[in-house]
Symmetry: C3
Subunit: 264 residues, 3 copies
């Protein structure tokens, strides 16, 4: 574990309300030397898949032993389980709803536990804010040295989302989709960067929204301003971008929009 | 006081401008090991009551000895006093305009001081940015070990807002109001959670905006998606919520909207 | 250098995506005790001049030895150089595109280096995210004690923006412009606070957007609510403000709008 212990927060709480601060206050009350880093609190309300994607982009930038707390929790107060996952040398804490899918997909030797160590919970535990009452204190006690094995029993069936890779159609073309749109309007698709070599070497057409993209580039700056192109994104997926422009506006694509790839 | 010293910031400065960073730079220049936590900087511009409510929700999640700096300051540059309040084991610093009301309401043994220790102020003190020039350096010196008594003389008349609890009307119903609307559209009312037992056990109608709510629930997940209900909120007030929906949109209520409670 | 080392971040990345967190994770992986402070991540996408202005307002609030990382980088992946500047006792790191202009303008003895110490870069270096792969690790190694001279050779021609002070017209009036509009709608002009004495002592008319402002005040609170006036801003420029109002809305001025000053 890093010294000082490092805890990240990823939620759909926004930054206007007191929710994020409440979690930080609880953590620092238990583990005063924790270093807290926000990943994002602007996940769409109840956007579990979006949280999973952003977590998958972010966690691997942090040192091993980091504790990532992910609270997008439409099922708070229901029977959904609180989860602690160890994967790829990191710790992940949050409700068992699929938001922790990516590290489990990437490290098949992950260990998942159902958190039931009520002695480490806040008191009383509300029905509406387990970020403050369950996940924050568990993260803080873990950071403070409590063993993961004290947090609950191993389980083998944590919920995992199926992001679905691109699918080859009968006519030979591939159909994928837009996973995520970033601040700059870049369209993060579910085509992997590993496919870039084939795309770059063969002619192709990528249909997304109202636009047909036919160019691949290794860098924004190599493409004339205002032109759409495919690029290997920093998070491991192919992205559709516009140099000094906004691909989302140009193509009118949205998260979930279908993406069709046709090799020439 | 926690080690390292813990300082929170609550302002209406937003996150786009340099104002919040200026305060943090000043604090860390004086007290380099301070741990800084943002409560919110998205308080509506000049929204003193909103700041008071968010402070009341947040401060009690932090450990005793935390220093909370609250700067929503439409009167900056006028004769309004700078204030240091000790209450409930916490410290509160900000202009004397009512934003520190809740901790004083909750701890009647509070001590309030008019800050006049100009030797701890930044130099020169501007007329427009006391967050940087007065409140941040005072917080940092307090965190660094200067005694509260060195900051100024005790006063007995700090400004306090009257949030006004619900009022019983001649016809027996109760009239309250919406204090605050959070990111999820939950309507935080000024009915206290302590009233939940009576509400839950008796039939009731709660009229808010365009909607009549007749259901009480202890958890979002127990109510069908899309249905409005009353719930005991995490911050001590009754809230009107919609499971997986937005009560603010459904009811068209706003902060300040009246809420009428009628027992059957 | 402060202990713990202090690193600020100023970008156009927004707070919704994983980009800012990626930079922080990289920094903390290299320099675990770094203290990280956000200046702003809400710079308009590709807004180099806006970043330069906000940096100029913010850096001087931090203690000497602070490392400021400024990544507004429309040219990422092109031949634009990565830059390390020492000026006014601070360190500045970012692409060589003008965003670091203000500290160089203020300290003519600045030292600029082209960063080429690839042994301190992340691996591999992407073409799209030098914030994570170049600037964050360089800042972290600098914070960890690597000498600036190890980061690259001195250069004499870093790119600098010309903000252009106000210009006197043939008819004797001065023409400046709106540099920046803050959250409160205050119009930050490029007239310097040093000119305030003359403005305050002589009658004047300042034309901005649809409004003619004729009043100077040292404090918001001295002016009736809703009236526009000129004030000495906290960042060293004259600003047009409206007490308890929004000067941007009232005048319909925007960043870049011309400002005409006529002495009576």
């Amino acid at each position: 574990m890093p010294k000082p212990p490092l805890i990240t927060l990823l939620t759909d709480f926004g930054l206007a309300d007191y929710y994020v601060a409440a979690m930080k206050g609880v953590i620092l009350g238990i583990c005063p030397d924790a270093c807290l880093v926000d990943i994002s609190h602007e996940i769409r309300a109840f956007g579990i898949e979006e949280a999973a994607i952003v977590l998958g982009q972010a966690y691997c930038c942090f040192p091993q032993g980091t504790i990532h707390v992910v609270v997008v929790d439409p099922g708070v107060g229901s029977a959904r389980r609180p989860l602690l996952v160890e994967a790829a040398g990191h710790f992940f804490i949050g409700p068992d709803n699929g938001a922790l899918t990516v590290p489990m997909d990437r490290d098949h030797r992950f260990k998942a536990r159902e958190i039931n160590a009520v002695r480490y919970f806040g008191r009383p535990v509300s029905n509406t804010f387990h970020g403050r009452d369950v996940f924050a204190p568990i993260a803080a006690h873990l950071a403070g040295g409590v063993s993961p094995s004290k947090m609950g029993r191993r389980i083998s069936d944590p919920m995992r989302l199926d992001f679905g890779g691109p699918v080859q159609e009968a006519n030979g073309c591939w159909t994928g989709r837009v996973l995520y749109i970033d601040r700059f309007g870049n369209l993060v698709t579910n085509f992997r960067v590993a496919d870039a070599t084939e795309i770059a070497s063969r002619g192709f057409e990528m249909l997304v929204g109202s636009t047909t993209v036919v160019r691949y580039s290794e860098a924004y700056a190599s493409v004339p301003a205002g032109q759409a192109f495919v690029i290997s994104g920093s998070s491991g997926y192919l992205e559709v971008s516009v140099n000094k422009g906004d691909a989302s506006q140009m193509t009118r694509a949205e998260a979930g929009s279908s993406v069709t790839l046709i090799f020439s």
